[in-house]
Subunit: 221 residues, 2 copies
DNA sequence: TCCCACTTACTGACAAGTCAGTAAGTTGTG
DNA sequence: CACAACTTACTGACTTGTCAGTAAGTGGGA
């Protein structure tokens, strides 16, 4: 429960018995379980998704899953870490875009997401669930939003060539993330919503407004 | 399910035994339970919120709750209907705004929401949860989005005085709803996010882009 | 007016199921 | 042969929902 993960920590200065490394098949097995868990938590949610369902997908029992991960909460944490690592790996070849390239990347992502509703649902469900009391993914989701906001705000400032204030950039950044997430939910519930078109429309709109600064009209004051 | 609400309908030509009206205290009691359920489902989610917790808030047992509502799912459905009725009642004095007034109303709502995080959390949790498989609130959430999109798109067209196409208005409408929902989630997780300011910023930006039509720049193509 | 037939609003006990987690035993592999 | 990777068997905590019973209210009729 203190989440030290005994089996993953090589015993520092092991005295008598060295902790054996896991067999080479084990790493892949754990990855299989993580993918199954991501699938289950994505479609059912963390609370409602059961270890038994995760286990069934890889042909073992729920106790087998617990053998590898110790607890359901630890499994969730590792699913999140695994997904992060995958995202990084996907972006490895391409340099991480900044400036205008970042916004193009966001729109491209929205276009890609149309073909992987499972991923989108997993993200949406977990994000929504994370605002409930004491949810184990809350910290992860919060951090993720914070990092993303920072990167997008920097990109806004870069595109604005110093003419955009930090406050405006922060506003724009949270709005861009918000509109992407919000549109995903609507699209999951109703295919009539045009996810890529609306996403591009909104990002362009927010970016344009940020670049205009205080020169733009404020009809809602 | 067709929402005829038997207990409110006086029996037309009752044959032998008239179906009595509910006692006057009953209506208020049921409303108490509905408010408690909205509270619990809002903070814990529907799946994770228990009848026992709802019951405790009004000082009865979970069986007492089931006496009134028959099943947990029916309780959820009535919570949703109750909230709809409350929303309508709140807007009764003021005429439902259209055109620019609607957008001002949306921004005002965002400002008010800062002082009622419980309501916002309930909405966010339920919306996120609704995209899971076979969720009982899915239809309600989907309909709500559809209606809202229609109203906002109409308002965009009204403000644009006929110069905005239906497709653009739809894009703008879903984007506005998306950004409002998405910002709420971020704000719930991190108070640093400025909900009203970001909301107003984004709505003005999207509205401006919609009114410009194809004349605006498309830096992301 | 008072009483009887009936309904409403519960309670407490329990059924039936699901869940995470544990402990002990088995198998196969390095 | 020791240990990793399981399985089987089980516990205890919680779930929703059912049921019988009870006290309190309500309306109509004598």
């Amino acid at each position: 429960m203190v989440s030290v993960m005994d089996d993953a920590v090589p015993p520092a200065a092991a005295p008598k018995r060295r902790a054996r490394q896991p067999r080479q098949a084990t790493t892949e097995r754990r990855a299989e379980i993580l993918r199954a868990a991501a699938n289950t938590f994505g479609s059912k949610g963390y609370k409602n998704g059961s270890l038994a369902e995760v286990a069934e997908q890889v042909g073992i029992t729920h106790a087998g899953v617990l053998h590898h991960f110790g607890s359901k909460e630890q499994l969730l944490v590792e699913v999140l870490e695994y997904r992060d690592k995958e995202d990084v790996r996907d972006l490895e070849g391409q340099h991480i875009p900044g400036g205008l390239g970042l916004f193009q990347h966001l729109v491209r992502t929205a276009r890609m997401n149309v073909d992987r509703p499972g991923i989108v649902q997993g993200y949406s469900v977990l994000t929504g669930e994370s605002v409930t009391e004491n949810h184990p993914a809350r910290g992860w989701v919060t951090d993720r939003f914070r990092v993303l906001r920072g990167e997008i705000a920097d990109a806004v400032i870069a595109v604005g060539e110093g003419k955009v204030s930090r406050e405006t950039a922060d506003c724009a950044a949270s709005a861009i993330i918000g509109v992407m997430d919000g549109l995903q939910v609507q699209w999951l519930l109703d295919e009539d919503v045009d996810l890529p078109t609306s996403t591009q429309f909104a990002i362009e709109a927010i970016l344009a407004a940020a670049l205009l600064g205080d020169d733009r009209p404020h009809p809602l004051d």
